[in-house]
């Protein structure tokens, strides 16, 4: 059986790699095979960041174009940029809170309106779960818990290969202890948004 492929995209500093490690380790703990790819270095200075995960049997951690099962987009523009990894069968979880590229003033193309992004994502995927994860995270206690809001929301996607308890355990094993209450709250709020 083909491995379950998750593509996570966003902007440096949003906690994407951490989120991916939480998912990957949770998969390992449940006895599943898992591989993951991450991009470090120059990409982190405000540039785009993406990770790729395959849960199940696979040798390469890179997702072939058009074969992603789930796209978790931490930023709307980065959802559009990830489209080649997706197909009409892909589930999408998308944060609606924008981060403008620093050079957007000088950019040839403007930042597209959110409605247009949502419309396009909807037309090219199985379904889109859109949420303002930044707002939810801030309400949960800290803007940086936004990645756990996204993870909680991703858990509601049909076919997601991990359960809530495993994910929460993995979160606790990977995040600083003092942040656990806020991150748990953020996770639960993300989960409750689509349950």
């Amino acid at each position: 059986m083909k491995a379950y492929s998750i593509y996570i995209s966003g902007v440096g500093g949003q906690g994407i790699i951490k989120t991916s490690v939480v998912i990957g380790e949770a998969a390992m703990k449940t006895g599943q095979e898992v591989v993951m790819s991450e991009i470090h270095g120059m990409a982190q200075r405000g540039g785009g960041v993406s990770t790729e995960l395959k849960i199940g049997h696979a040798h390469s951690s890179i997702i072939a174009d058009g074969t992603g099962d789930l796209l978790i987009a931490f930023e709307p523009l980065e959802a559009l940029r990830a489209l080649p990894k997706t197909s009409k069968n892909t589930h999408v979880v998308m944060n609606t809170s924008k981060i403008l590229p620093f050079n957007i003033q000088a950019s040839e193309h403007p930042y597209p309106p959110l409605e247009d992004i949502l419309k396009e994502m909807n037309s090219k995927s199985k379904d889109v779960k859109a949420l303002d994860a930044v707002k939810i995270a801030t309400q949960a206690g800290h803007i940086l818990s936004m990645n756990m809001v996204m993870l909680g929301a991703a858990l509601t996607v049909p076919g997601f290969p991990l359960d809530k308890e495993t994910l929460l355990d993995s979160m606790k094993a990977n995040l600083p202890e003092r942040t656990i209450p806020i991150n748990t709250r953020a996770f639960e709020e993300g989960f409750a948004t689509f349950r």
């Binding site: 991916s20 490690v21 990957g24 200075r45 405000g46 890179i62 058009g66 620093f102 950019s107």
Partner: protein, 625 residues
């Protein structure tokens, strides 16, 4: 996972490790007692993790001043009977190569492994060179793992080979292997001595012409023996499907090939080369004899492909070879599952169900990396450009160097005109100052200055050059994630260490004009840059301010920077000359994003209308009902 588990994990434990983290576990299991590096992506995390664990693991670890020194530290340790490990990015191996060429002649007594991390597609590098050439150039064994488990296991194997044949072993990863995460099953930790004894043997360890001639003969014989013995290496594995089609591959490309063949159940045999130099001639020959057509899937240069063509020629085989040389696969850049999948289907004439690949219908603005909000380099660039403008200087040349500051190549800074390698800012400034009459202001970081900037600065003073060198001293090796360097009071083990003074070095070299500035103080730094530009010799300005990514917080206090809507006339000066990510065009005037603003106050100083100021946060609260 806690990073300490990499040390504390027990045999048969499973950890979800990055390739680079698995390399650390491999070194620990192999009983490495001396490790040295200079940070470079994609190998940087190996050093970060060792920095954290070395003391507890009983390993001596250092961030050496550069890769050549790192290799020399490791070579001396291994020659004294202590297992050693050095690791670097591909271009770091260029720096280390001078000593590598001789270390292969002298050989070692305990195991010595050199990990080099190639960067196909150049995610964070200035070139795409293929380190496999070094195995041939220096004539030493090379291993190429494909995933984190193999990174760990191959390091153990490399130490065994190194010790058995008394020769350093090169282990090549790529970005996709170093930055791949996977499940790694831990092994047990070997106990090895942490102190050795250097038994003198000049005929072996001092390559002068008379001894080097003998050493070269011995090296060639040794590699021949090693090559024969490794013909049956378990690192070269065949996955047979009983067809007459074959793929020879290794490293990341193997992963892509294997996935395609398995998922589509294709009748294709795969030979995975994990021990790649000396090239396993007999094993490859046997594989070739069993197929009618072979696809060679390797990243960057067609090295295996040429080795295979040699075997085919030598043994008079009749079969078709496809790969880079006949454009069945692209000549450069990293492969992807899609590239490999398409090539396999094309070459073997297999039917491929083409997926419709969707992409955005609307144009997507780029999101390039940039200097962080509050980055002191931005202020330094502004200061230099302002000074040049004040003096009416045109056609200024900016040789630059390796670090975050290459981001100065972008508008509106235009502060990077020429770049070759680590330290090249100063060497090329010497050339520009002799070959042109243009003003030259070059930029180099603190860590890069230590790495390769000191000899060219001596060259500059001695040869009476005229240029301004700006040393961007942000108190860390920022680009690779913030590792310490000799200018800081801490060493690789996390112990206190003597801080080497950059100003003292500059003065000792004989630079007559040297000033230290806080780049965030715009008025003063512009004045100093003007003086430096008027100095008729080598002028050095040390622009000293810590990197904002160090664990320092933005200036505390209950204030935030705001734009006074009464005063701002929307001239755009701040956006067009500073381009700080925290500044953005609001409706009718500039705004500051408080989430991003680091309160460096540079924009406050440069606003022609004096419209940006600090505002007390509690004032805001008081006003609200």
């Amino acid at each position: 996972m806690n990073l300490k588990d990499i040390l504390k994990g027990e045999e048969d434990d499973l950890l979800f490790l990055l390739g680079n983290e698995a390399a650390v576990r491999g070194a620990i299991e192999a009983g490495v007692k001396v490790a040295a590096t200079y940070p470079g992506t994609p190998s940087s995390e190996i050093g970060d993790v060792l920095h954290l664990l070395a003391r507890e693991a009983g390993i001596y670890f250092e961030f050496s001043i550069n890769e050549k020194v790192a290799l020399e530290v490791a070579a001396a340790a291994a020659s004294s009977g202590v297992r050693s490990f050095t690791f670097m990015k591909h271009v770091g191996l260029n720096v280390a190569s001078d000593s590598l060429m001789s270390a292969v002649y002298t050989g070692v007594r305990a195991g010595m492994v050199i990990l080099t991390a190639d960067d196909p597609s150049m995610f964070s590098s200035q070139n795409e060179q293929d380190s496999r050439h070094y195995a041939r150039l220096a004539n030493l064994p090379m291993l190429e793992p494909s995933n984190p488990q193999e990174v760990k296991d191959f390091i153990l194997e490399a130490f065994q080979i190194s010790e058995a044949y008394q020769i350093p072993v090169l282990l090549r990863t790529t970005t996709r292997v170093s930055h791949m995460r996977g499940i790694v099953k831990l092994g047990s930790i070997e106990e090895k001595p942490d102190k050795g004894f250097f038994k003198k043997d000049p005929e072996r360890f001092v390559p002068v012409p008379a001894t080097a001639r003998v050493m070269h003969r011995k090296l060639v014989d040794k590699m021949e023996r090693l090559g024969h013995a490794m013909e049956d290496s378990a690192l070269n594995v065949e996955y047979a499907q009983n067809g007459n089609l074959g793929i020879i591959t290794g490293s990341s490309a193997y992963n892509y090939c294997r996935d395609v063949v398995e998922e589509e159940e294709l009748p294709v045999n795969i030979l995975k080369i994990g021990f790649s130099h000396p090239f396993p001639e007999k094993k490859v020959l046997k594989f070739l004899q069993g197929v009618d057509r072979v696809l060679v899937a390797e990243e960057v240069d067609p090295i295996m492909e040429k080795e295979i063509l040699v075997i085919i020629g030598k043994y008079g085989l009749k079969l078709e070879v496809n790969g880079k040389l006949d454009a069945s696969l692209p000549m450069i850049y990293e492969y992807t599952p899609d590239i490999v999948c398409e090539s396999i289907h094309n070459v073997f004439g297999l039917k491929n169900e083409k997926l419709m690949i969707q992409e955005s219908d609307q144009p997507i603005p780029n999101r390039p990396p940039t200097l962080c909000p509050g980055c002191p380099h931005r202020a330094a660039y502004y200061g230099v450009n302002k000074a040049a403008e004040n003096l009416g200087l045109a056609d200024m040349i900016h040789p630059t160097d390796i670090g975050c500051y290459t981001l100065g190549v972008e508008a509106p800074y235009w502060s990077a005109d020429y770049l070759l390698s680590m330290g090249s800012s100063i060497g090329t400034s010497c050339g520009f100052s002799k070959a042109t009459t243009q003003p030259v202001v070059s930029f180099i970081g603190d860590s890069t200055f230590f790495h390769a900037g000191i000899p060219p600065l001596i060259n500059a003073v001695h040869n009476k050059n005229r240029f301004v060198l700006v040393i961007l001293d942000n108190r860390t090796t920022a680009m690779t994630g913030g590792q310490p360097h000799p200018g800081l009071p801490v060493d690789g083990l996390g112990n206190e260490a003597p801080e080497i003074s950059i100003p003292a070095i500059v003065q000792a070299v004989g630079v007559e004009y040297m000033r230290i500035i806080n780049p965030l103080n715009i008025k003063k730094s512009v004045k100093i840059f003007q003086e430096a530009l008027e100095h008729p010799g080598v002028a050095v300005v040390i622009s000293k301010h810590p990197c904002v990514l160090l664990k320092t917080r933005p200036r505390q206090g209950a204030t935030q920077l705001v734009v006074d809507s009464q005063k701002c006339d929307d001239c755009g000066e701040c956006l067009s000359t500073l381009a700080c990510p925290a500044l953005y065009q609001g409706e009718g005037q500039v705004k500051i994003d408080p989430q991003l603003c680091h309160k460096c106050n540079v924009c406050v100083q440069i606003c022609p209308q004096g419209a940006i100021k600090g505002e007390r946060l509690d004032k805001d609260r008081e006003e609200k009902p």
